[in-house]
């Protein structure tokens, strides 16, 4: 990290209730209590690490109000209500340094169709393409090499990182953040088998992403056969996730990396799917369902389910079956003994 904060800068950002000690070190990085050295900021986010504070060599420490202890020489303690939140404030500031939004305007190397409407406060970075009829809202940041297709609509304050593709007619709400390489609006995977060949079913629907959706690097969301593929407000999707055509995902869901959701499935609000989980087509995953990693869900599940395994089973049952499965060698032996006795 190429940051350089004085201790006064940090105090200004976190506004501690009280302080102890002082440091003349410039803060250049953040580190865990044990790993931190001179020039590092650290924090006590979890009471179980309390014992590590005294030995920490961090120059500045964010500590809860009730922490009792004295800083070392050239060390500054900042006492705050919630050290994790205070750290997040510092991180938010650093994030702006890492990814400063350039001034509004269209980079001269970008290719923007005359009929596209780009808001005056939007920033279209180098080597982006904006096709005819696309609408780019206020404060949008298309960083570099972003493609925005015909008639697509990008809501206010969206952030599209390098290499993002938003296909024709797709609609993004406000503050959507798409990590590098995300593809929105690729064709759904639909064919009819006619005379020994797979004939393409044209995919003419689009994709709608709600406000505050975030999608991870190289994930893909297919356009609907017709109508819409939908991802609800506030849902967060990790890297390399596949969302097929006509899927409807509710609000505030979490899809971890490499999850795949097959076509026309509905995932209700507040669902959490662990990494590499696969979800079959044309089913419904009830509200608030949770699935562990590598789960395979082939049929609809009731709200509030907690699943794991392939095929997916209730989590505790799956765990119990795993344990019994590992006792199979013993069970076979026991049956053999019974058989010999029964002879």
């Amino acid at each position: 990290m190429q940051v350089a904060y004085t201790s006064a800068d940090i105090v200004a950002i976190v506004t501690p209730q009280r302080t102890a000690g002082a440091t003349d070190q410039t803060i250049r990085d953040i580190a865990g209590l044990g790993a931190a050295g001179a020039g590092d900021l650290s924090f006590l986010g979890n009471a179980k690490y309390k014992a590590e504070v005294a030995a920490s060599r961090a120059s500045v420490l964010l500590l809860p109000l009730d922490y009792a202890g004295e800083p070392a020489a050239n060390q500054l303690y900042l006492f705050v209500e919630n050290p994790s939140v205070a750290l997040a404030r510092v991180c938010a500031r650093i994030e702006q340094l890492l990814w400063p939004k350039p001034p509004a305007g269209i980079h001269p190397s970008a290719v923007v169709a005359p009929t596209a409407r780009v808001a005056p406060t939007a920033c279209i970075g180098p080597l982006c393409v904006v096709e005819a009829g696309a609408v780019v809202g206020e404060g949008v940041f298309a960083q570099a090499s972003v493609f925005i297709g015909r008639g697509a609509q990008i809501g206010r304050d969206c952030w599209l990182l390098p290499g993002v593709v938003v296909g024709a007619e797709c609609v993004l709400g406000a503050r959507v953040r798409l990590q590098p390489g995300v593809i929105i609006g690729s064709d759904g995977f639909g064919y009819e088998f006619v005379k020994g060949r797979h004939e393409k079913v044209p995919q003419v629907g689009h994709v709608v992403l709600g406000d505050d959706v975030e999608i991870g690097a190289n994930s893909t969301v297919d356009r609907a056969r017709f109508s819409r593929t939908v991802i609800g407000e506030g849902t967060k999707i990790d890297n390399l996730v596949q969302v097929a055509h006509n899927v409807v995902i509710g609000r505030h869901c979490i899809l971890c990396a490499q999850v795949g959701v097959s076509g026309s499935t509905t995932i209700e609000d507040y669902v959490i799917l662990g990494g590499q989980t696969g979800v079959g087509g044309h089913i419904t995953i009830g509200k608030g369902t949770k699935a562990g990693g590598q789960t395979g869900i082939g049929s609809s599940v009731a709200p509030g389910s907690y699943l794991n395994g392939t095929p997916a089973l209730p989590y505790l049952l799956e765990r119990r079956l795993q344990i019994l499965h590992q006792r199979l060698p013993d069970l076979f032996k026991r049956v053999e003994i019974l058989e010999q006795k029964a002879k």
Copy 2:
């Protein structure tokens, strides 16, 4: 969808055998029978939804010839031999609106090597790169930010969507469609372990895609160590699929999302692999084999197999074993009872 068809436009596209009723609504979207409203086109594609037709508020309905019923006020029925095929015709027309092929020519922002040969009817869109010696056939559409490497050959009427990479020397047949972010001809994954380090085995083969192959967003197909990685005519591949070096895939196969095929494996014609299925290296998957989602295939399988599970087993056996697996708690109890009796 930003379409606007009059009922006369729809009639002209689907050429119904007869009609009933009339509508003055402009058709702006397609929707299912239940969801459709004024301005929507809907269709009866499956007899089991017949009862929904009468209540549908769609302005125009595509119906089979034998449908008996009367349209509502301001509603048009179009009777056709196959409503699904009629709908596909409308969708194909809309697809051309969504993705109109621009006039032939090379966009001024594209970077095309002097020794590349681009057919006069091809369209090389903005910010594409075509390297030395590449050959781009008649009617090809490289939409935007497409990379075509040295000596690659792109067959007639191929469509390469934004962000596609076709590596050096790779060969595409006619009408190949590559969704955004597809990588053809990345290096195969080959190393020799020498003195504690993995030394790279240069990958100097290429990739050959047959006519009418389609590959989904962000999928990857590695070039061969030497010779070819091959995907046969008419095979369709979904998003985020991995095809390793020297794999040979036959004709008219279907690989669903997130499938992975390891190196030097042969997949014969008409194979269908469900999502997230993994296929080991140096094996043969016989013609017409089908595998359910998340299958793990570690050894060669005979033609016509129907598989599921990891390790892959015949589908019905796998289902039976799943059921018995879930009865393990009961089985352990039964054995315990027997043991107590046998004491």
Copy 3:
């Protein structure tokens, strides 16, 4: 392959200890012993194929010193200590033809910030973006449409293929090779659940790739929440692999295609993970561990483990359990018989 070597060219590259026969064919391709024809180079890399040499129609054959046999008409035998190594030398030469590094310099279509420092021997290809403060080392080759973010550091002789994204502040050692579409430094997937919404935890760390790391097409490596995500020297990663934030991977590891590693996990040196394997978060995979394809590793494992299955078990135990699992129908029957006898 568009190569054309005379037999004299091949002799000059492989420097055989002795030769037999001669050919006037131009060598245009490499093929296996059985598939090779006139104009092909072939080799005996594995003694078990010895019998195929006599019948091979290759124009030039690389053979071990002890091979006893006579070339056919218009066929050249080259006897070398290690035919595989000799072939690799030919392939390395062909690789340079396939992917010739252009002359140093910045392509006029690239967008390079004034404050970026690009070494004079580096090549920044067409349509690349290099942001402010980035440092690009000697001999680096950014082929086309590569994005190098603010303050990123690219070590000497790195090769970044088309569409690669290296995010702000990320650091690459020497000779790192990133296949097309690789994303380094996307945001880690971190949220806090506050009042029914997932609030983003800013991800302000970066990624450090050691010397000689290679990463496959469309794989993704997330930046750390703070501090670093690390991939050690010489580690090789295949296509479509996910490495989450704050993961630390050791030296000389192999991660096959579609592997996923969850956040804050440590993978020690010389670990090998088979395709589609999933690794949970906050655990340690001991040095030299091997896991078969589709393994699910949820908890820490000791050095030298050999695992398979979900949940991961010792490989031989897992194989044994698989066999017993397939005998469940028989076991249920045997218990039923015992029960009838016990009545």
